[in-house]
Subunit: 293 residues, 2 copies
């Protein structure tokens, strides 16, 4: 089985390396990134999205957002022009669910099965192959590519039809953004009230207020360490997709909308490349206090 | 050592019982609740707040909110009129930090030490003695009463000076309210988008979006079970104290303010006695969908 891999950035590159390490034969292509290191490891060099598709049984894409995925798969010289009938395309990018459905429908008309399979966990988990992968599509296609996905992720879950993977990813990103905002409001208030944030953390982390966000981000905030992790500019992208999706469906998500405005302000203040835990900077600025050790 | 216990409602009664079980000699009083069961267990009956104070070395209060605590301790016939110099007063109610500081200062002027020691965990953990207790006050007073508090809680943490216990409790309640709102927005969107909420839960609970709130409340929501737990009307009280405290300190907490408005709407809709997981009902109503199995 030949696996095509398109999009070899911060996430795609280590994911592709894990497939090579697992013994898969890869054909790789990226419009911008150098791929020499992957060729050295044994991957074949593709010359275009179409070329990769024509040489592969399963084609994986890992790109920034909906327009890039639509261009790479449906555009001129795209996957759809080269893909073999019966092949499977798996888009692992985090994009709008409606874009997943559009791509899936166009491929289906060509006899090609499609899964949307966005991931959670960031670069460290891409490197060690322990991503959480949320998959939308049919059971048979899922079963066929599951062994491949399991080389990149420790949790591979079929959550529904095409698009459901990205809906689940958006739900994940809403919860993460709001949970960061929650600890930001709470710890800014406590700090301004004169209570040491480390003491608050120790007192409440074991109870109903406890969360993975609190455990992961409060130590970073207390150290003033906003090195990503997951960049604010990427969370802006995800929340834009969440808001678009919600509005198309008529679902008001007002707190998400407010966090989006907070992120816009942080971007203007020069924090776009900070970890999303820098949401706390917004509250610190408003309250004239820093949540530090 | 004689322990006075004032306020024997849903929380105070099982807490007092745990002290009796542990061998403490109690004098108990409640303005409204019957206390015959506690007398049967061996407690002595106090006739007023003042009377309890005059007969006790440590006086614990467990009352609904700031005005009740100020009335019971500082009011006519209150603790302050009977308390012995050198005694210790421990208020375990969840009240405004400023009220804790006012009570503490008044008692200090009489040579009486004071701790604010609000709890988290609700009735079940009050019954089994596993509350989280967040304590504000000085180290020596804390050390003296810690053995008593450990009969009611499994986590007893000194977080700072008088008032810090309630600041920490407010931080806890902000995070809990916002984390419930976070899963409510996310799961309402996913459900309206046609993805099964159970699948979303399974896919994201192990990642960065995971939280104690998600694990505790999503199963309740999926079952349509809004039996408290912790009632919306009590969370309204806590968020009012959080907003008052924040505004006094000049700390904007806009997401907390918005959840407060959501809770007001839910109260108007007749859900004041629902568990706070019923925050999801607000989003369900807006989106015309139910997040159920």
């Amino acid at each position: 089985m030949i696996v095509g891999f398109i999009g070899l950035g911060i996430m795609g590159r280590p994911m592709a390396k894990n497939l090579i390490s697992a013994g898969y034969k890869l054909v790789v292509y990226d419009k911008f990134a150098k791929i020499d290191d992957l060729v050295t490891l044994g991957a074949e060099k593709g010359t275009s999205n179409k070329d990769v598709a024509s040489r592969s049984d399963v084609i994986i894409t890992m790109l920034p957002n909906s327009p890039h995925v639509k261009e790479a798969i449906l555009g001129s010289g795209g996957v759809i022009e080269g893909v073999k009938s019966g092949a499977i395309v798996v888009d692992m990018s985090s994009i709008a669910p409606a874009a997943s459905q559009e791509v899936g429908a166009a491929l289906k008309a060509k006899g090609v099965n499609f899964l949307d399979a966005p991931v959670s966990g960031g670069e460290p988990k891409a490197i060690d192959g322990s991503l959480a992968i949320m998959v939308g599509g049919d059971q048979k296609t899922f079963d066929t590519v599951k062994p491949i996905l399991e080389k990149m992720g420790s949790s591979v879950v079929l959550v529904g039809d095409v698009g459901a993977g990205n809906v689940t990813k958006l739900a994940n990103q809403i919860v993460v953004a709001l949970n960061i905002a929650a600890v930001s409001e709470a710890f800014t208030l406590a700090t301004k009230a004169g209570v040491k944030p480390q003491a608050v953390f120790d007192a409440i982390k074991g109870g109903l207020a406890g969360s993975t966000v609190m455990n992961a981000k409060i130590p970073m905030i207390l150290d003033g360490n906003f090195k990503p992790g997951f960049r604010i500019e990427l969370h802006i992208k995800d929340l834009q997709n969440a808001l678009d999706t919600a509005h198309n469906l008529g679902v008001p998500i007002p707190l998400t909308a407010e966090v989006m405005e907070t992120l816009q302000g942080l971007k203007n203040d020069g924090f776009a490349a900070n970890d999303h835990s820098a949401i706390v900077r917004h509250y610190e600025k408003l309250a004239k206090v820093e949540v530090r050790k």
